[in-house]
Symmetry: C2
Subunit: 235 residues, 2 copies
DNA sequence: GCATACTCAAATGTCAGACATTTGAATGTC
DNA sequence: GACATTCAAATGTCTGACATTTGAGTATGC
């Protein structure tokens, strides 16, 4: 029995869902029925169902009319999963900082044109609000959270949910790495100045200026990182 | 008991892994020990472990010296997960084609600069190979596979694994939607001509030309889609 | 001394049956 | 018609058992 039965059952059910045979809102048979159908015990079926639940493919309800229902995958849930995976990937694979920063800013630059074309007054407000929180005196954790909010506000300005979803992974997964910088480097005025320029450029719908600021931001980020690691090494 | 115990246990273990308390290669206690520690039955622990396994956080081995080991998340596994999630997200949320295409080509454009800077002879060969497979007479499925290979070769030319990982979701998740086009639209010469231009532009390290071709590709893709759906409606 | 075969114990994988708990729906009462 | 009661269908959990896998130690044969 090389492959556990519970995994095989999970695969078959999962294929039915991803393949469209079972669609959002459908109810799976009860655990007892599934056990009967797959000719195994209820525990085995349960383990299979837990695998699906962990991947957000189903949700289970107790009581009468309960059971396992095919989940509609929401953007929020997908973003969460993507962020977790990306973070883990970075932390487990010794990706060097410059590669990560390069990817991050390249992806962010991908939003430039669309953000200029589609940005709204609410986007500018969100950007400004995040900027204000960054400028106010705050602890490192709050600063980082506001930093993420700033970048997400920029991405969201493109008004393309797919793009926002894809980039959330890149932006938020960098957070632990960025933390290493801001925790060490207390002088945040340089970053803030560039953020101001970015906000202004988006307000003016000036893609070239945005690209310019992003390049500078990337250079500054990498520079800060090198300064931080040099200081760490010298101790 | 609002939240199932098995889910709570899964959360706690998962937090230990993502939080770095348990790192790649570490062995979790045996199911019996965990059951003892969490003061619950072995079945409940098992359901929690299956949840972790489904998310690729652990792998389990049977026999002596077996048990649950913290998995090292590989790029391949992360890409797979990302593609599945992205595909599901698109199929379950009635995203209109133009939004998806817009996101896809914006992301692809994000690779332009890096691809021009870092592209290698092997990248050009991979691109050419995919192009050849596209040009040869082949069935729709093979055409689509080669199409994906072409786009991934372009992305990989940026030589940034993080970027490749992020974009795999966008490129492959579009596949089902693209299928709808190529299956209907047999004339592939237009696409192939643009692909040739893209290959040449990358060979010449000409970012402006690449951006131009990508814009044309996006326009063509959307146009093909409209033609296909108009034809579908007229029947 | 070395290779092979055997045994053993520690784990996970599976099963069967039981009970607890939740919850919507049917039913009954006023 | 509004409210309380009962019921049955599910999931959630527990217990104990057995099957299976597998590495490590041990014995055997040469």
């Amino acid at each position: 029995m090389s492959r556990p039965l519970s995994a095989a059952i999970a695969d078959r059910l999962s294929a039915q869902i991803t393949g469209g045979e079972l669609t959002s809102g459908d109810r799976l048979p009860s655990e007892a029925d599934l056990a009967d159908h797959f000719d195994c015990s209820r525990s085995t079926v349960r383990e299979a169902l837990k695998r699906l639940a962990a991947r957000n493919l189903i949700r289970t309800k107790r009581g009468a009319g309960g059971g396992a229902y095919v989940n509609r995958l929401t953007f929020d849930a997908a973003v969460d999963a993507h962020v977790v995976t990306s973070t883990l990937l970075l932390s487990m694979n010794a990706v060097d900082f410059e590669t990560a920063a390069e990817a991050r800013f390249a992806l962010e630059a991908a939003c430039t044109e669309l953000a200029c074309a589609n940005r709204d007054q609410t986007d500018l407000s969100a950007l400004q609000a995040a900027h204000d929180r960054l400028a106010a005196p705050c602890d490192d954790e709050a600063f980082c959270a506001a930093d993420v909010a700033f970048h997400r506000a920029f991405v969201d300005a493109a008004r393309n949910p797919i793009l926002s979803y894809q980039l959330a992974g890149a932006v938020e997964a960098m957070q632990p790495l960025m933390n290493a910088i801001t925790y060490a480097e207390r002088d945040r005025t340089e970053i803030l100045a560039l953020y101001t320029q970015l906000t202004d450029a988006l307000s003016a719908r000036d893609p070239n200026q945005i690209r310019h600021v992003l390049r500078e931001l990337q250079a500054l980020t990498i520079d800060l990182f090198h300064r931080a690691s040099a200081r760490r090494k010298s101790r």
